[in-house]
């Protein structure tokens, strides 16, 4: 639920949007995604492992992200981890979602001007 297969026009759930945003700049493993989401939202969104991997599973199935090879995080320097990477469809979906947000903000601004 929440991620329609191969359809960039379907609105995203907040968790999926945050994960796509976190992966838009570079590939990350699960824990790094959680930390990035927390920092992107200035600590307002704290995603637990249940929500994170539930969304990751649906996003993998929908083709928005893909797994890359297992490797060691130089910052954590311990076990090998699965990294996730945004796909072309994921980029397109994120772009479409951000456009929707821009449109909503534009409408809100316009309304405010009209009210004032």
């Amino acid at each position: 639920m929440g991620v329609a297969k191969n359809s960039p026009d379907t609105p995203l759930t907040p968790a999926v949007l945050h994960i796509l945003l976190a992966l838009s700049s570079e590939e990350r493993h699960g824990y790094a995604i959680m930390k990035q989401v927390e920092s992107d939202s200035q600590g307002k969104v704290k995603m637990g492992p249940g929500t994170l991997y539930g969304s990751v599973g649906r996003m993998l199935d929908a083709g928005l992200i893909r797994e890359t090879d297992k490797k060691v995080d130089p910052g954590l320097n311990d076990e090998r981890r699965i990294y996730y990477q945004i796909t072309a469809l994921g980029q397109k979906t994120l772009g479409a979602e951000l456009d929707r947000y821009r449109e909503v903000v534009a409408i809100a601004k316009k309304r405010q001007v009209a009210v004032n």
Partner: protein
């Protein structure tokens, strides 16, 4: 050192909790989730804080996700008609078990109690009346369960009727759970100061309450998914 020991303990509990996920999901994500939980514990210990709050919050969050994944799977499975037969059998068995308990078990228990305490006949009869009253929500829930299965077979899973039936099942489970809770409290009050130990009945009541809570949680999640699908269907209409 002690903190590392408790981190190990929480990690092993978390691994056990992850086993409640559907098998395919567990095989796919459990190692990573375990790794992530370990990372969270390590970060917490580094900042000099205790692990209890983190463990509690993560366990609750993950348990909610487990319920969601299992109900998604259940919904997916019952979309295949063959599996509704198995669920019908489960519902039928529950009905037969309830009839057996009410028809044979409860009267026998009351007779035993009355013969053991001839002066205090009020309580067993009270329990008997309550048990028969609770049959109303129980059989209503079972009937609604059958209705949902019929709707699935008629390709009407995502309809308002299904959502209504799931809601009724939830109310029934809540009524039964609340009644058992009230029952425990009453029993504890009545047995206070006497030699009777209500540990056995209390345990049974706790199990029933846990079952009712699980049914309530699952029906809430299923109803939400059904409602979402109905909304999507309505939105896509021209």
């Amino acid at each position: 050192m002690l903190s590392h020991q408790s981190a190990q303990k929480y990690r092993s509990w978390y691994a056990k909790l992850l086993r409640l996920y559907p098998k395919a999901y567990h095989d796919r994500f459990a190692p990573e989730m375990d790794q992530t939980f370990n990372d969270l514990c390590r970060e917490r210990l580094k900042s000099g804080k205790g692990l209890l709050t983190l463990a509690l919050a993560t366990f609750i969050e993950t348990f909610a996700a487990i319920l969601r994944e299992n109900s998604d799977l259940l919904l997916h499975r019952i979309m295949n008609r063959s599996s509704t037969l198995f669920l019908r059998l489960v519902v039928a068995l529950m009905a037969i078990a309830a009839l057996a308990i009410c028809g044979l078990g409860v009267p026998r228990m009351v007779a035993d109690e009355v013969s053991r305490h001839p002066n205090g006949v009020g309580v067993p009869y009270g329990i008997m009346v309550c048990a028969y009253l609770l049959c109303i929500p129980f059989f209503t829930a079972l009937y609604q369960g059958f209705r949902v299965l019929n709707l699935i077979d008629r390709d009407k899973t995502f309809s308002n009727a299904t959502a209504r039936s799931l809601r009724l099942i939830r109310y029934c489970a809540l009524i039964i759970g609340a009644s058992f809770f009230a029952g425990i409290v009453t029993l504890r009050i009545l047995s206070a100061g006497t030699n009777e130990d209500p540990a056995g009945p209390s345990m049974i009541a706790m199990v029933v309450m846990f079952f009712c809570l699980t049914v309530t949680a699952v029906s809430v999640v299923l109803e939400k998914q059904v409602q979402k699908a109905i909304d999507l269907k309505t939105e896509s209409l021209p």
